[in-house]
Symmetry: C2
Subunit: 138 residues, 2 copies
DNA sequence: CTAGAACCTGGAGTGACTACAGAATCAAGA
DNA sequence: TCTTGATTCTGTAGTCACTCCAGGTTCTAG
């Protein structure tokens, strides 16, 4: 089996998707990507289906889905999913993200407050430190 | 050295803070918590300072600070810094937090968008999957 | 045909825990 | 005081999602 026009080497696939070579091999090992064709010499030959699946995986990961969740999404894709199942996963993720944002905004407020009280200089006693240890993160 | 009124066992500390026993030991090993007193038998004896520090660490971790970042925050608390240094470090954290918030808000927007298009149910066509599969995310 | 770029496998390392085995210690009741 | 069962101890290994490396093989352009 040799490379034809529609095929990618692993390096080309990595370049097209922004996913590292090692990571692609890892995904294959873990079964997120299906087993792939090889050349006589053993080099991997990918095609468009791999490209799409890999982009799907990358986007899902970027959105914060865990490996297991990506696996679940892929199972749904592969085997006749229902819209409801997918929506549940997505909404769970959304709730999670919103909670993290709320937490970070509280922290931002605290950090902004205490840093605004400080005008720098070499004074070794700084009220910020007290604010940090007492107030910080309630 | 034996346990007195102000002391906690590791189990009590875990219960008070919601941090697992193994994780507390891990933090001590990694130097996030200072070396702790022991009974004659070798059991750890914690006090309020450990309690506060542990709560601080837990909260920071929950907010997505890495171990290294928590370490930096703790150095702030521990002192030995001039007011100027403290302010710089605080502002660095603040920038960091704001970037994290921006990232998460983009993420939230995307998740909300794609999940809002979905009405659930048993329909086998799902806009979430389509969104993940197509080029529509950037 | 050859040089060197790209690729291969198997294994180890990372960060931040988490789990476990087997031994020692502790606290409370008889 | 003794016993019993809960708790804690150390040290090691496992988890997740990669990432890096060594040492060897294959591919491709000139």
């Amino acid at each position: 089996m040799s490379k034809t026009s529609g095929d990618f080497s692993i390096g080309e696939l990595a370049e097209h998707t922004g996913v590292g070579i090692e990571t692609i091999r890892y995904y294959e090992r873990e079964g997120l990507l299906p087993r792939v064709r090889r050349t006589q010499g053993g080099h991997r030959l990918f095609d468009d289906t791999h490209l799409h699946r890999l982009l799907f995986i990358r986007r899902s990961r970027e959105l914060g889905f865990s490996g297991a969740e990506v696996r679940a999404l892929l199972r749904l894709v592969d085997g006749g999913y229902t819209c409801g199942e997918v929506r549940d996963l997505t909404l769970e993720r959304l709730t999670d993200v919103r909670m993290k944002i709320a937490d970070l905004r509280r922290l931002e407020k605290t950090l902004a407050e205490i840093s605004s009280k400080c005008r720098g200089g070499n004074v070794p006693e700084c009220p910020v430190i007290e604010a940090l240890s007492d107030n910080f993160l309630r």
